[in-house]
Symmetry: C2
Subunit: 190 residues, 2 copies
């Protein structure tokens, strides 16, 4: 995949994370990349293919980021904090998680894109579950529920926090408050 293709995906990603799948167009991309919209079809044959590749790249990058979080920090509690900060970062540009916003449009997504979205949630939940299990065994975290359930609740909550934060005037602080509580709910009470 060449440079232009990457650039197209970069721009598309920002667009989708802001507006969603149905509301981004080749014209939008063309404007920001500086090529004509017909030229996009040289790199991606269709909107479906473009979005499929976008989700694929996003999933891989996200997994990489999670691995970095593991490496850079041995404390599960700090890892969790970093995980939450990823979502907070997106929000600072009023962007949702790519797969979170796509999930809202599930009914109109091409099947191949739906698949990628599903896979993203499964992967992320698995990572969270492992993190919680580790944290529980070392005492860094004190999950009140089985790690699997705790993970799915956490994932739902962070996605929901991002979702409704966009409907708030002060979206970042709205998210922060919720994120703090999520963290508190799973940390040992001194």
């Amino acid at each position: 995949m060449n440079e232009t293709a990457q650039q197209i995906l970069d721009v598309a990603q920002n667009l989708v994370r802001n507006r969603g799948y149905s509301s981004f167009s080749f014209a939008d991309i063309s404007e920001q990349v500086g090529i004509r919209k017909a030229s996009i079809h040289y790199h991606f044959s269709s909107k479906e293919e473009l979005t499929r590749e976008l989700v694929k790249r996003y999933r891989m990058a996200f997994q990489q980021t999670l691995k970095q979080i593991e490496r850079s920090n041995s404390d599960p509690q700090a890892q969790l904090r970093q995980f939450l900060s990823l979502y907070r970062q997106g929000l600072s540009q009023s962007q949702m998680c790519l797969c979170g916003i796509l999930s809202a449009e599930m009914a109109v997504l091409p099947a191949s894109v739906q698949e990628g979205v599903r896979a993203f949630f499964a992967e992320t939940q698995t990572w969270l579950q492992t993190l919680i299990e580790t944290g529980a065994s070392t005492g860094c975290l004190q999950p009140r529920l089985p790690p699997k359930d705790e993970a799915s609740l956490l994932l739902a909550s962070v996605q929901g926090a991002q979702l409704i934060a966009r409907a708030s005037e002060a979206s970042e602080s709205a998210f922060d408050r919720i994120a703090d509580q999520l963290l508190a709910s799973i940390c040992p009470t001194p």
Copy 2:
């Protein structure tokens, strides 16, 4: 507001709750209502007005439902259960909360619709907060956080649960598991 207008809103509501704002069209409505799409403009001058009225009606109906929950049940814990079941019901037709799905498209909504969405969340959070306060004072509920924070976390979580449930093969049971944990997290442990 006459019968046809109501019917248009009924159909529009199902469409939006499934596909979102950008992906529903006058053609879709016209097909299901059985009138031509130009005729819709007699009842609603524009898509913006239609959606604005839709959100307005949804908000009022939702508030009514919440009042009914209060009346039909004096136990805050049971009220909370009923609140969660509202979201579960939508999901059974793979529908999200109208304002939840609109929130994902916030960036492309007309300003007047954005306003309605914001108001919906504020109202709903207030109701939850009052419920939690009542429950805490009678001992029916045992919030771990200040009621206001507990309410916003709960709202975010239930919206998020609905959002990501759509990306799950078994969306209803995925939601149920999360809803049970939400309930457990706020109920007194015997």
